[in-house]
């Protein structure tokens, strides 16, 4: 849990300095960017194509019109006969809105007929005759497309003359046509791009889903859970990452197990010499009458007893930790019966300490019957033994210790009350820390409540302290009630 929080805050701390990029966003960007380029290119190409075809069509009709107009001008000798009936004029000028302009002239600049003055075509000195020449120009600031046709007339080569026929039409129509074609192509293209983006987005999501699952699996881990990660249906790239992670986890697990085994072995090995020390001291005490020496020996014995207690508690703590606890197995057992048996067993010790240990009968009469919980009975027993032991140890002679079991919703509550001096409220949290001792005197080693917390939390339960009035302490353990 702490590791998790540390990791989170580390990420948080890094964030302002190194922008953490989302792989999802990156992929989306790099897949959609080419599509945008493609879309722009396609639009540009289709516009250009549309414009070209529109030009072609208009150019063809302009050339046609220029030829038709040229046909009306017939050279007679060295003069010109212009047969330009009103009807033909009407046809050319039919659509005024479209802005059709024409002019027949003999260069340089000799106007013969037409409805507007058109500029000379930007042509070289000797233009090719008989073929229409097309170019862009403006008439009264209006963009137009012009077809210019040069014709030769005159019989003798010496008196050769040139006739220029020009027809212009506004480019508005052509632009409209082009943009219409563009619209017709770009719209479905945009729809297609949108659809593709959605597919790409969904694809990235699906592709990155195993990564998200892996992240969730790692984040949800308890720091002590070193079992290999299991990611189903992971792609090859992720599989190798998971494999590497699992390799690391296995190595760490091995280290932890070695360390734990060492603690356990060391504790076992310490027990026999401690037993020897205690026995020898007891013997020396029994055989010696010198009060000064006896006083020293008493201290030695006390110290040996405390060391023995510490060794036992360390061993229990090592056992309560998850890897070892898993090996102890689980069963369903009656917590109320366990509390009874344990209390009965501890009564002689309590009496020796001058403590009145008992069971709260009224709570049991209020809710009679068995209170089953699931877990390791030995560990839970050890936890409760530590709670009761704590109460006996710290309440002191002349006080009462009362054990109470009761159901509370889906949980079983075990409360151990004492009438001793209690623990100040601000130390309640810290009392569960390893090696934290509320008072430096006394025979405790500061591991009792840490063991209780470890075991109870292993069983999805909780343990809290509460001050009693006028004085005293209540230790409340809650464990989930086993399903029927």
């Amino acid at each position: 849990m702490n590791l998790h929080i540390a990791r989170q805050s580390l990420l948080g701390a890094l964030h302002p300095f190194t922008r953490i990029r989302s792989l999802h966003r990156q992929l989306l960007l790099w897949l959609l960017l080419p599509q945008l380029v493609l879309w722009l290119a396609a639009a540009a190409v289709s516009y250009a194509t549309a414009a070209r075809y529109a030009n072609k069509a208009i150019d063809a009709s302009l050339s046609q019109a220029a030829r038709s107009l040229a046909r009306q001008v017939k050279p007679i000798g060295n003069g010109l006969f212009i047969d330009f009936p009103r009807a033909a004029q009407d046809i050319i000028e039919a659509d005024r809105d479209e802005g059709v302009f024409y002019m027949v002239s003999t260069p340089p600049g000799k106007y013969i007929l037409g409805n507007r003055k058109l500029d000379d075509p930007p042509l070289p000195k000797d233009p090719p005759l008989g073929t229409p020449h097309l170019y862009n120009s403006t008439v009264e600031k209006m963009p137009v497309r012009v077809a210019a046709l040069y014709l030769a007339y005159g019989d003798d080569a010496a008196n050769k003359q040139t006739l220029l026929v020009q027809i212009a039409r506004g480019r508005t129509q052509r632009d409209e046509l082009a943009s219409e074609i563009l619209r017709d192509t770009a719209l479905p293209l945009s729809g297609l791009i949108l659809l593709m983006s959605m597919i790409v987005w969904a694809g990235i999501r699906a592709g990155l889903a195993p990564l998200a699952r892996l992240r969730a699996a790692v984040e949800e881990r308890e720091p002590h859970d070193l079992a290999p990660l299991q990611i189903e249906a992971a792609p090859a790239e992720l599989r190798s990452l998971v494999g590497a992670l699992n390799g690391l986890l296995t190595a760490v697990q091995g280290n932890v197990a070695t360390q734990r085994r060492f603690i356990s072995d060391a504790a076992h090995q310490l027990r026999t010499p401690l037993a020897g020390l205690k026995s020898q001291t007891e013997l020396a005490l029994a055989e010696n009458a010198d009060p000064a020496l006896r006083a020293r020996l008493e201290r030695v014995h006390e110290s040996a007893t405390r060391s023995a207690h510490l060794v036992a508690q360390l061993l229990t703590l090592a056992r309560a930790e998850p890897e070892s606890a898993a090996a102890l197995g689980r069963s369903r057992f009656d917590l109320r019966k366990l509390a009874h048996d344990l209390s009965a067993e501890m009564v002689p010790r309590a009496l020796k300490a001058g403590v009145d240990l008992g069971i709260d009968e009224s709570a049991e009469e209020a809710s009679p019957g068995e209170l089953f919980v699931e877990g390791n009975a030995l560990l839970v027993r050890e936890a409760l033994a530590n709670v009761i032991d704590n109460a006996i140890r710290y309440s002191g002679s002349g006080h009462e210790v009362t054990v109470r079991t009761r159901p509370d919703g889906g949980r079983v509550v075990v409360e151990v009350d004492d009438t001793g001096p209690g623990i100040p409220g601000d130390l309640h949290e810290r009392a569960f820390e390893r090696f934290f001792r509320v008072s430096p005197s006394g025979s405790g080693c500061g591991l009792g409540l840490a063991i209780v917390k470890e075991i109870v939390e292993r069983h999805a339960g909780s343990v809290t302290l509460e001050s009693l009035s006028p004085h005293g302490l209540r230790i409340r353990m809650e464990l989930p009630l086993a399903q029927r």
């Binding site: 076992h268 090995q269 027990r271 026999t272 010499p273 401690l274 037993a275 020897g276 020390l277 205690k278 026995s279 020898q280 007891e282 013997l283 029994a286 040996a304 007893t305 023995a308 036992a312 061993l315 229990t316 056992r319 090996a327 102890l328 009874h340 209390s343 009965a344 067993e345 009564v347 002689p348 009496l351 009145d356 240990l357 008992g358 069971i359 709260d360 009968e361 049991e364 030995l378 560990l379 027993r381 050890e382 009362t402 054990v403």
Partner: protein
């Protein structure tokens, strides 16, 4: 009372032997499993203390082999394992009792005495505690030589309390000894009545029946006044 102490730790064995001799045992020590097995099979002992982690032959093997030949021999096992070790469960089945190192000598002595009592119940002998003499066979009880009258239920109650002195006797156990019928007569209030009566009869015996809240009763010797 002949006792075999099989313990390989010389310092512990030395101190334990001396302590055991002080409380009246005739102690013979075996430094390893092979010697322990040999001695246990060849000689007569009233009780044995076996360390589990013995060299040459381990304690559990010695225990199994000896029990095949002498099933009645009470054996107390000493172990550096604790109650959380799954191996202790197996031990529980084989040994009569076990004690985790390190221990307090009075605890060891009490366990040994209890084992001996269990192994050799003394029905004919008078059971003495404080000033009370309790003769099971003869069905007689007296305090300081003065006989006391006990009804059958009172007798069974006292018998139970004496048999588990310094331990809690639960109300369930008392009801069970009375015939296990959960009728009105063996209800808790009735048990209280009988305890009250027995308590009064034990008034000058130097014994007292302590009520353990919510659990049951416990017979203990009253601590003698400091003057005596």
């Amino acid at each position: 009372m002949k006792l075999l102490l099989a313990e390989d730790d010389a310092i512990l064995a030395d101190a334990l032997s001396a302590q055991l001799r002080q409380v009246g045992f005739e102690v013979e020590a075996a430094p390893n499993g092979a010697v322990a097995e040999y001695l246990l099979l060849k000689q007569h002992y009233d009780i044995a203390i076996l360390d589990l982690g013995l060299p040459l032959v381990d304690g559990l093997t010695v225990l199994k082999r000896v029990q095949m030949v002498k099933p009645a021999l009470p054996v107390l096992v000493l172990t550096a394992l604790d109650g959380l070790d799954h191996r202790v469960a197996g031990l529980n089945a084989g040994a009569d009792d076990y004690l985790t190192k390190p221990f307090d000598f009075p605890e060891l002595e009490a366990r040994l005495r209890a084992l001996l009592r269990r192994a050799r119940p003394l029905p004919a002998d008078a059971l003495e505690m404080g000033r009370l003499v309790f003769e099971r066979e003869a069905h007689r009880a007296s305090i300081g030589g003065e006989p006391i009258e006990l009804s059958p239920r009172e007798w069974m109650l006292l018998d139970l309390l004496l048999g588990q002195r310094d331990k809690v006797v639960t109300k369930e156990q008392i009801a069970q000894s009375w015939g296990a019928d959960r009728s009105e007569a063996s209800g808790p209030s009735s048990i209280e009545v009988y305890v009250h009566r027995v308590r009064r009869k034990l008034e000058h015996s130097g014994l007292s029946i302590r009520t353990v809240r919510g659990l049951g009763y416990l017979l203990e010797a009253q601590t003698p006044p400091p003057s005596s």
